[in-house]
């Protein structure tokens, strides 16, 4: 291969970076919680209770594994609409997520102003997600610039899809971040599709990580269905950033297990075979097998866990359904600072 250097898969070590057994189970719990919430969103959408669902199914290992390497509330995070697993890992709750999804007055992200999955949390330094793709990338460089100026050892993580890498924002952000060696990680969840447009029509290279070479910064390719590989790769990038060694572009290869959103009919562009193949790359059973093999998970524990998650989700949904919508008078507030 011509470009060996930049996209050699980063592999998890046999024993991942200092993670305890409890942490490993915690990773699994977060992935399972993300999946459970996500599945419930689709159910609610089909029931007509939610107008819209967007999914992180298939991305959980990439999201949870990478966010687990950050310091919540200290590091800054600019997620995108798929990043349910990221925000849960940082500390948002199922209740938060459903309050937002139902556009409730108490929705922590926007009080009902934004569509579902447009996360924000001031306390956790999770910057408000917008819908335009890739705008968060130059912003992430700016957040990191401020941390550097303030002399803080704080890292910024910026998430986006493969589609985002075709936009000028990507170029201008990575260029600036690399020139100034900013403490920022650009984390691409490459699921091979920008809605219906496959990677081959989006870029002339086989790997998003290759795009890093134009900016003289490390471009890492990692199997995004392997949560420990992702954690290890992200942790190294975070450590470099924290040590003042500049930005990294990480490409986590993931599989989109659902249509783009509940508005999408993916049979128009995805063959049954391709979708079946994607299902083979579900990160959850993969991690479950690993935990079982290590003796950390068995049927009983799994059942307990699933039950706890199901309760958490149901309680969250009930709470969110019952919560009041924003009052009409709220609509005129916060255009400007009071």
């Amino acid at each position: 291969m011509a470009h060996q250097q930049t996209h050699t898969p980063a592999r998890a070590e046999a024993v991942p970076h200092g993670l305890t057994d409890i942490q490993l189970l915690d990773l699994y719990r977060l992935m399972a919680l993300s999946r459970a919430i996500d599945e419930r969103m689709w159910v609610l959408q089909r029931q007509g209770k939610l107008p819209f669902a967007v999914t992180g199914q298939g991305h959980e290992a990439a999201q949870v594994g990478s966010a687990y390497a950050l310091r919540p509330g200290e590091d800054w995070v600019l997620p995108y609409y798929r990043d349910l697993g990221v925000v849960l890992t940082l500390g948002m709750t199922a209740r938060d997520v459903f309050l937002d999804a139902f556009a409730r007055a108490d929705g922590p992200s926007s009080g009902g102003r934004q569509m579902p999955a447009h996360y924000a949390c001031r306390r956790l330094n999770i910057v408000s997600v917008s819908s335009p793709v890739a705008t968060q990338l130059p912003q992430a460089a700016g957040v990191a610039l401020a941390s550097k100026l303030k002399g803080e050892r704080v890292v910024t993580a910026c998430y986006f899809g493969d589609g985002a890498t075709s936009k000028g924002d990507f170029h201008e952000a990575l260029n600036f971040a690399a020139i100034h060696r900013l403490p920022v990680i650009f984390f691409c969840e490459n699921n091979g599709w920008a809605i219906s447009v496959p990677l081959s029509k989006q870029m002339p290279v086989a790997h998003v990580a290759e795009r890093a070479r134009a900016y003289n910064l490390p471009g890492e390719w990692v199997d995004g269905t392997d949560v420990l590989a992702v954690y290890t790769c992200m942790r190294a990038a975070v450590e470099r950033a924290r040590a003042g060694e500049g930005p990294t572009l990480i490409e986590a290869r993931v599989y989109r297990l659902t249509p783009h959103t509940s508005d999408d009919d993916e049979r128009r562009y995805r063959s049954d075979a391709e979708r079946a193949e994607a299902r083979q790359h579900d990160p959850l059973p993969r991690f479950e097998r690993l935990l079982r093999a290590r003796g950390l998970l068995d049927d009983a524990l799994l059942a307990t866990l699933q039950e706890r998650i199901a309760r958490e989700v149901s309680e969250a949904v009930a709470c969110a359904e019952a919560a009041p919508p924003p009052a009409p008078s709220e609509a005129l507030r916060h255009v400007y600072a009071a």
Partner: protein, 326 residues
């Protein structure tokens, strides 16, 4: 005559123009294999192939820049921006390039380009799937801006836009896509750019509007008729250059004007129409020029909030009734 929805009429126009003129191409995100997130380009790839129906990377600047270049070299590109809310990255190419190419080259180069984009609120889209961006483009000499409200106009105006030698922003109201149906002739026809249509005659108040709000204005007119208030409804259809004659003639008849749009008020298209009338038809006015428009905020997602911000038939009725009584 066949009954068609707005989105079907648009698809028909694209297919017919692609068939008629080899120079026409269609490009944008998901316009090919997918057929467009609103299905406006459904079937085009199959009929016209990947050279003429191009699935682009997610890159609006590039989409429009590339389209401009292809227009310079003899093509008639129709670029799709998936939602009008995502047109901003292409603003430099549209405003500094497409709009100014002819002027700056003293007429030597032109830019026959159509940019199609779904726009407008009322589909629970929140801040980034609800925007009305037409006013930005109406401020740019060199551009044309079209906003059809019916299937007939959508087809005829899109054909006119594709055959026009200048860049045309073609904004399609999402709420009309499937909800508005109407008769569309089978054969080829164009609706000329720059001409408004009087949708209903009335003696008391003129409502000047465009896009989906035309239908709400007609609703309002019907509601007010029993009260003896006769409302004239003018559908601008083209916002730049807009049809001053038709508007002026209507105002000369009614002497009272409501200018209405779903875009927010400040510097919306209604500002220009009101300012024009206040300057050129001052003597004919028997009352203030009333603007019905959205509040000056982004468009929020929750229905309670969106309804508080975006005007509808109720706001129109109130405004017309008050003005009629003035």
């Amino acid at each position: 005559m066949a009954e068609r929805t707005v989105v079907e009429a648009i698809r028909d126009a694209l297919a017919e123009e692609l068939r008629r003129d080899w120079r026409v191409i269609v490009l944008g995100e998901d316009v090919g294999v997918h057929g467009g997130v609103f299905r406006a380009t459904d079937g085009l790839l199959a009929e016209f192939g990947p050279q003429r129906v191009i699935d682009t990377p997610l890159a609006e600047l590039g989409i429009v820049g590339t389209a401009i270049g292809s227009a310079l070299n003899g093509l008639r590109p129709v670029a799709e921006i998936q939602f009008a809310d995502y047109i901003y990255p292409a603003m430099d190419q549209i405003m500094n390039e497409a709009a100014k190419l002819r002027y700056r080259s003293n007429g030597a180069f032109g830019c026959p380009l159509v940019i199609r984009a779904p726009y407008g609120p009322g589909v629970h889209g929140g801040l980034y799937h609800s925007q009305s961006v037409e006013a930005f483009f109406c401020h740019v000499p060199g551009l044309k801006v079209v906003t059809p409200s019916t299937p007939y106009d959508a087809k005829g105006l899109l054909k006119a836009a594709i055959r026009d030698d200048d860049p045309v922003l073609f904004f399609e109201h999402k709420r009309t896509y499937r909800r508005v149906r109407g008769e569309v002739p089978e054969g080829d026809y164009v609706v000329p750019i720059g001409r408004a249509a009087v949708r209903r005659r009335g003696r008391h108040v003129s409502v000047i509007t465009y896009g989906a709000m035309v239908h709400q204005a007609l609703e309002a007119a019907a509601l007010l008729a029993p009260e003896g208030i006769e409302v004239e409804v003018v559908d601008l259809r083209t916002l730049l250059p807009w049809d001053r004659e038709t508007v002026a003639a209507s105002v000369a008849r009614t002497n009272k004007v409501v200018v209405a749009h779903e875009d927010h008020k400040t510097l919306g298209v209604g500002a220009e129409i009101a300012a024009f009338l206040a300057e050129e038809l001052f003597d004919q006015l028997d009352g203030p020029i009333v603007r019905v428009a959205a509040a000056d905020t982004p468009v929020p997602f929750a229905p309670t909030l969106e309804e508080a911000v975006v005007p509808g038939t109720r706001q129109l009725v109130d405004a017309i009734r008050r003005l009629a009584a003035y």
